[in-house]
């Protein structure tokens, strides 16, 4: 019996490279859009978490706790299997993008909240005393400072987000993991399929993770 990594299996994968390329492209597209969504949600809900108003803080807590304390898979299944019951049938791409974006948005919100809270109170006061509105204070003075501290954890978050797009495989999402899995189930050449898939994830995640470490070390120097 040929081994799991027999040469002809690699040849088969090579000739079907476009299957993997298609999945890889989908994974990148979902990752980029989901990351944008996560950042927008993270900034909006993160800011709510630092507000004086109890209502805003409650909204922040509900979002963060609900999302962080349930598995991503359940949230994706909810969008995929649950929403059609109330007449909302989203294309699979949207299910992946929304589910993964909303999930990581909750983590981004915590990063943003911690970043804002790390800015000394005197910075708010100096800006308010100069006559800046709350919005301009946030925009020109607080968020730029919070950003410095938030960048390294947000970059790590991006790495997790990319890897987590692989849950789309469970709903036939057309992403890299799904294509690898279905290609391998069809011909049983699991070995090369999963090795190549893993390498493709590394190809995007490793540079990002390295970048995050670089940002962290820069932060240590400047603090």
């Amino acid at each position: 019996m040929p081994g799991p990594f027999a040469a002809f299996k690699w040849e088969a994968l090579l000739s079907d490279w476009n299957v993997f390329a298609e999945g890889f492209g989908m994974t990148i597209a979902v990752s980029v859009l989901a990351l944008l969504l996560a950042l927008v949600l993270g900034i909006a809900f993160g800011m709510m978490g630092t507000e004086k108003s109890r209502l805003f803080r409650l909204v922040n807590r509900c979002y963060v706790e609900l999302i962080q304390n349930t598995p991503l898979v359940i949230q994706i299944f909810f969008l995929y299997n649950g929403l059609p019951y109330i007449g909302i049938q989203l294309p699979i791409f949207w299910v992946g993008m929304l589910g993964i974006g909303v999930y990581h948005g909750a983590y981004a919100a915590e990063v943003v909240r911690a970043g804002i809270l790390s800015v000394p109170k005197g910075q708010f006061e100096a800006a308010m005393a100069q006559g800046f509105s709350y919005r301009d204070t946030m925009r020109h003075i607080i968020l730029p400072q919070a950003k410095r501290l938030a960048y390294p954890p947000l970059t790590n978050l991006a790495v997790n987000l990319i890897k987590n797009t692989s849950v789309m495989a469970m709903i036939a999402g057309g992403d890299l993991m799904y294509h690898a899995d279905s290609w391998a189930s069809a011909n049983l050449y699991y070995g090369p399929a999963y090795v190549v898939t893993g390498l493709l994830y590394i190809a995007i995640c490793f540079p990002l993770a390295t970048y995050a470490k670089h940002l962290e070390s820069k932060l240590e120097v400047s603090v």
């Binding site: 006061e125 100096a126 308010m128 100069q130 006559g131």
Partner: protein, 246 residues
């Protein structure tokens, strides 16, 4: 001369602790008022009530005849006419000195970059730091940072300057350079309210010394009168302690 600041019956609490028990204070245009008193007397809280960094629960704050507590839409405009200098400088650390000075004029007064830079350099020169325009706050000494903070407040061409213990966080050898800038400013006729422990500055600059203790104004007088003939026992105690320290 008209009254530019009027505080009426100010009460301020933090939680259950009331730190200001009904303060009345008026400041005339061009007047220099120095507020002194033991720590915990409420001086800083009081000066922070003038631009509503602290919001009193009771009483009224008038600046330029505007009741700030009931005209919140005017608060930003009034704050722009009042510069504030803090104990901890509070420069924006992510911006250069020049950017610190240009931000408010550009964003709040919609000055052009060129215009704002010109004004900024004028005020930097006045505090003797034009060569630091492109430095970041962290690269400056405490005294230099505080002088930049004063210049930053002045770029908005305020009518009133509030100083909240501007030299208390400084190393002794840097106090004088900041006081010199403040004395020069006082000589120009701007309205000043200063919370400080620098009695020499109070004597030299103040038109009126306000002595606070336990959340109340105990005594107000001209500096010579106050320092040589304090009327109240509490003020005498305070001054005798300071003299011993000196």
């Amino acid at each position: 001369m008209s009254r530019v600041i009027r505080l009426e019956n100010i009460h301020k609490s933090f939680g259950k602790l009331e730190v200001l028990h009904g303060i009345d204070l008026e400041v005339k245009e061009g007047e220099k008022v120095v507020i002194i008193g033991p720590s915990g007397s409420g001086k800083s809280t009081l000066i922070r009530c003038i631009n509503l960094l602290e919001k009193p629960e009771q009483g009224a704050v008038y600046v330029d005849q505007v009741n700030l507590l009931s005209n919140t839409q005017q608060l930003s405009r009034v704050r722009q006419s009042m510069g504030m200098v803090f104990q901890q400088f509070n420069l924006y650390p992510h911006m250069t000195v020049l950017e610190n000075l240009m931000l408010a004029p550009m964003k709040l007064k919609k000055e052009s970059g060129e215009e704002a830079e010109k004004t900024a350099l004028v005020y930097l020169e006045r505090v003797g730091l034009q060569d630091k325009a492109h430095s970041y706050p962290a690269q400056l000494s405490g005294g230099q940072q505080q002088r930049v903070a004063i210049a930053r407040a002045l770029t908005m061409k305020p009518k009133i300057m509030l100083f909240d213990e501007p030299t208390s966080a400084l190393d002794p050898e840097m106090i004088q350079e900041v006081l010199d800038v403040m004395v020069a400013l006082a000589d120009e006729g701007i309205t000043m309210v200063v919370v400080t422990h620098e009695m020499g500055f109070a004597r030299r600059v103040a038109d009126r010394v306000v002595f606070m203790a336990d959340g109340k104004i105990i005594e107000e007088n001209a500096p010579e009168e106050f320092f040589t003939h304090p009327q109240h026992e509490r003020a005498r105690q305070f001054l005798s302690k300071i003299e011993r320290a000196v």
